[in-house]
Amino acid sequence: MSVLDSLVRTARRRSPWLYHVNAGSCNGCDIELVACLTPRYDVEQLGIRLEASPRHADILVVSGPVTRTTAAAVQTVYAQVPNPKVVVALGSCPASCNVFAGSPTIVGPLDRIIPVDVFVPGCPPRPDAIIGGIAEAIAILAGDKPRPDGTMVPVRPTLSNAEGER
């Protein structure tokens, strides 16, 4: 591996930017995610930033069981994140639809809508568990660990054709 490649991988390990999507969540997980930014947990130490635009993000954090009205938006936002990207499913809802399973307004779980790399179960998960899940996502992003389907994140970003709406 060349020096440049290892520099890129180190940079990805040290500077993961998050974008958070609420796909019909009850706000419990969202509050726990924001708690990670507070003085007690302070994820900015790890270079993590909660970004305001999906175009800036490396890691997409999705909470909620994916309702009918948010499914298309989740797909658009996923397509708007430039490669390489990793998806973290935050809480029990995107993993299993939780108590909303079977509801006619729910089209989840999340992995039916977009590919998911890390699940952080819990209702809501503790901030420690969220940071653990994001650390796993960082390892996938930097190429230290394979994705669940066994593929590795390449150092040179692949070009995706589905770019989402402008």
Binding site: L7, V8, T10, A11, R12, R14, S15, T38, P39, D42, E44, Q45, G47, E51, A52, S53, R55, H56, D58, V81, P82, N83, P84, V155, R156, P157, T158, L159, S160, N161, E163, R166
Partner: protein, 301 residues
């Protein structure tokens, strides 16, 4: 002359100095902000790795013309910032050319102009909103900014930055520096004037649609703008002739970093203002102080 121009553009206070210094200043600001909030904050190398990571991300496919425009605008901002840096009168004994104040004012206006155009060119609603706010803020802070620079220029009787930086004229300089200091946080998108980028409120403002390498160029322009804007203030705040170059350099860096500390404290202690409140700050207080400086300069001539 050409060699000296290239040195000030590419080495000091240009790219070779300004890029690491800009990263350091941005880190210092983030770190101080975190410490003031009771957090630990990002490590020393953070802005550098942010930049490398963005460079190594996918470049979002655009139609050819839009891609060209969206790439050219941040490059223009980087170029204009380098121009401002090269014109800074850090060593005012070595005069560059007369009239460089006019060129500096022109170049320093190009940076927000590029951001405004980029916001609209991205055709995103939030990019457009950020661009509108950026343009309105430009109307606001340029009044005290230009009044203060005009007062200094009248006081020194010259359009040359070197003469402005060397002539003491404290009665003009102190109000002018206060008016200039008021414009620094808005130029750097810091609280309480972080209205144009307004994180979360209007997504990411003008750079909402920017990602990957194109965003990296914006970040670079913004990092260097920190050095350029604080450096302009620092180089105008030390009008003492016949000082050794090393001392002058150290004073320049010290005043710049002190400004970064002050900006961080003000930024952490204040909340974002509304556009109308910002207008009142700049048109009432900023322009008032700038006008006082101007009148003193005219009377003292």
């Amino acid at each position: 002359m050409v060699v000296r121009g290239l040195v000030s553009l590419l080495i000091f206070p240009g790219a070779l100095f300004a890029v690491p210094m800009g990263w350091f200043m941005v880190w210092l600001q983030r770190r101080l902000n975190a410490r003031l909030q009771g957090r630990i904050g990002p490590p020393f190398y953070q802005p550098f790795f942010d930049f490398i990571k963005l460079l190594a991300k996918e470049r979002v496919t655009r139609s050819r013309l839009q891609g060209l425009v969206l790439t050219a605008l941040p490059v223009l901002a980087v170029g204009a910032t380098l121009g401002v840096l090269a014109l800074l009168p850090v060593f005012p004994e070595h005069a560059k050319f007369s009239g460089d104040l006019v060129l500096l004012v022109g170049l320093i206006e190009v940076i927000p102009l590029a951001a405004v155009l980029a916001g609209f060119a991205s055709r995103s609603l939030y990019g457009g909103l950020g661009a509108t706010r950026e343009a309105l803020l430009g109307l606001m802070y340029n009044l005290p900014f230009l009044a203060a620079l005009g007062a200094l220029s009248v006081g020194a009787g010259s359009f040359s930055l070197s003469e402005i930086a060397l002539k003491p004229m404290w009665a003009v300089r102190i109000p002018a520096l206060i008016a200039l200091a008021l414009c620094i946080p808005v130029k750097l998108h810091m609280n309480p004037f972080s209205i144009a980028n307004a994180e979360q409120e209007i997504y990411a403002g003008a750079t909402t649609e920017y990602g990957g390498p194109r965003l990296a160029i914006w970040e670079l322009a913004h990092d260097m703008e920190w050095v350029a804007v604080t450096g302009l203030w620092a180089s105008l705040a030390f009008p003492v002739p016949h000082v050794a170059l090393v001392v002058r350099l150290l004073v320049f860096v010290a005043i710049s970093l002190a400004l970064v500390v002050l900006l961080s404290i003000v930024g952490a202690a204040t909340a974002r203002l509304k556009l109308a409140q910002a207008a009142r700050v700049f048109w009432q207080w900023g322009f008032g102080i700038g006008l006082i400086a101007f009148i003193i300069a005219v009377l003292a001539r």
